[in-house]
Structures are given as C-alpha cells and as structure tokens.
Symmetry: C2
Subunit: 173 residues, 2 copies
C-alpha cells in the first residue's frame, strides 16, 4: 500500500479470531498492567470488548505502516510489537517495543490522519481492533463509557505530549 | 504560589465578568478562526458557554504558571497571551503568542498534572474558564456535546504530539 491509502486491508489480511466478547476475560486480566485500562470495571471491559474484533498477527508481519491512512486503534492482548519511524536516509529507526495492555494507532482512529509509526509483530500477537465507527457506536449506546474512553485517550496523549515536549526542550535550549 | 499548589486562587484573583452564557455570541464569533470550536453549532456553544465562567486579565498578569497544579482550561475570547517555558538556567524562554479562539491548560483540566507552561497576558484579555467539574457536568447533562468536546481535545493533542514528535526526530536522528 502507498502513503495515503487506507490500511483496513492490512487488518483484514490478519488471521480473524472473531468477536471481541470472547476475549473480555483476557482483556480484563490486563487492567492492572495497562495505562489504558486502569480504572475500567469488568462491566466496562465486557461492553468495550463486545465492540472490538480480534486478530492474530504472525511474527514479522507489519501491523501498521507509517504514512498509511487508518481509522482504527489496536489493543495488544498478547504478544509483542516493535515500533519504527522512517529516518531521513530512507531507513527504519527502531523506537521501542511494546507488550500486552498497550494501545496503538489511537491518534488515527480519532483524527483520521496518517499512521505516525510502523508497528511490526515481534512474535505471535493477538490484537483487538476498535474502529472509529465502533467508537461512535459506544458513545451513542453507552455515553458514560464513551466519555471514559475519550478521557483516557486525552490523558494518554497529554502524558506523551509532556514527555515529548520535555525531550524536545533538552535539544532546543 | 509554589510548585504543586493549586492555581485556582490565581483564577479567582482575576476580574470576575460572571457567567459564560452572556458571552456565547462572542465565543460563537470565534468558531471560524479557532481550531477548537470549528464544527461547533450555535446550540453547542450556547450550552458550553453556560458552563463556563468569564474572567478578565490586565496586561502582564500571569494567568497560568508552569509547575502549579490546575484543574481548569481557559479559552481566549479576546486579547493576547504570551507563552513561556522555564529554561535550564532559571530564566523564561519565550515560546509563542496566542490570540482569541485558542485554548490553554486542557491537559491539566483532564489529567490533573501540573501546568506545562507559563501564560502571561500581553494586553487586556478575556478568558472563559471550564473546570474539570464543569466538564463532568457537561458529560453528564449533554453526553453528545461532552463527547464532541473530548474528541476535539484528543484531536488537538494528537496534532500537537505529531508536530512535537516530528520536531524531536529532527534532533535525535
């Protein structure tokens, strides 16, 4: 896929494990080790999981590709993912690795802009996908859970922005 | 006030212009020049304004102070504000100036962490304050407007994070 194309086909090429409801228990097991899920009750997770769809990626599969357009976020339920950014000489700069409980692609889910980084499965990885349409349905059907998820996204982005800005200030001063 | 103290007293020391409802027209007039308010209908603004409280700051007044704890955001309705960050040698680094339509302090409103920058009125400035409690009431009383405001906050933070991360990558590669 070229820059600017939707990456929904990338999601659909993964192994389809079906509806998220069957994974609510696994997701609830991550509550204590996840920045995203902390404060979520079992009922919250049961509802959220029922709007998700679950996929499995084999090792070395590119799950998200920097520059592609996306409209869904992913929650790592099991496995491990490496994150890369393109550098100025056309190569891939390794940024970090993330494990179960981490969310990926939240910014594109909300603002529809292109994927900010490339995410590659390091080992067999189970992912829950939540599309912008799914998020809209949660907000409509369960407004207080919708607000809770949105507040969590604002909090996560605030933390990342504070960290990134603090790093940047080390360079520009 | 020292670092870690709430800055609510700072807000209360400004000139109190009363309830936001009387300013709905002025705020609606900013819709087209504001990243925050774009897509808001007149009805949205009427409701939002009714949960806000309006203050006026004289020139040179420090509206927000980096490091203080805050639980409200501010919308610039009129005037101009300079933004500074502390530098490593104890001085103030000028970052930028912002005008009517800009929001300040959204991150602290949501996550309760300390103010990220210092904001000083450059001239007489009118501000609408929205506290975390006000935001909670909007979400409770008007869930779809609450979700719209939260989605706007996620979008703004995503944009800033993309910009800041892109700047940072220029230095670390």
């Amino acid at each position: 896929m070229a820059d600017g194309e939707s990456d929904r086909k990338r999601l659909e090429s993964l192994e389809d494990l079906g509806d998220g409801a069957a994974y609510a228990g696994s997701i609830f097991g991550l509550v204590n080790e996840s920045q995203f899920f902390v404060d979520f009750t079992r009922e919250d997770i049961d509802i959220l999981a029922s709007y998700m769809h679950i996929y499995r990626a084999r090792p070395q599969i590119t799950i998200l590709q920097e520059g592609e357009i996306g409209d869904y976020m992913l929650m790592l339920i099991d496995g491990e993912v490496d994150i890369y950014k393109a550098n100025r000489i056309g190569g891939q700069q390794y940024m970090t690795s993330v494990k179960a409980g981490t969310t990926l692609g939240e910014m594109s889910m909300i603002d529809g802009a292109s994927r900010f980084a490339t995410c590659i499965a390091l080992r067999v990885t189970t992912l829950g996908a939540l599309t912008r349409d799914d998020m809209g349905r949660i907000i409509h059907d369960h407004p207080s859970l919708g607000a809770k998820i949105l507040i969590k996204l604002v909090t996560l982005l605030s933390q990342r922005l504070r960290q990134t800005s603090a790093q940047l200030l080390q360079y520009i001063k």
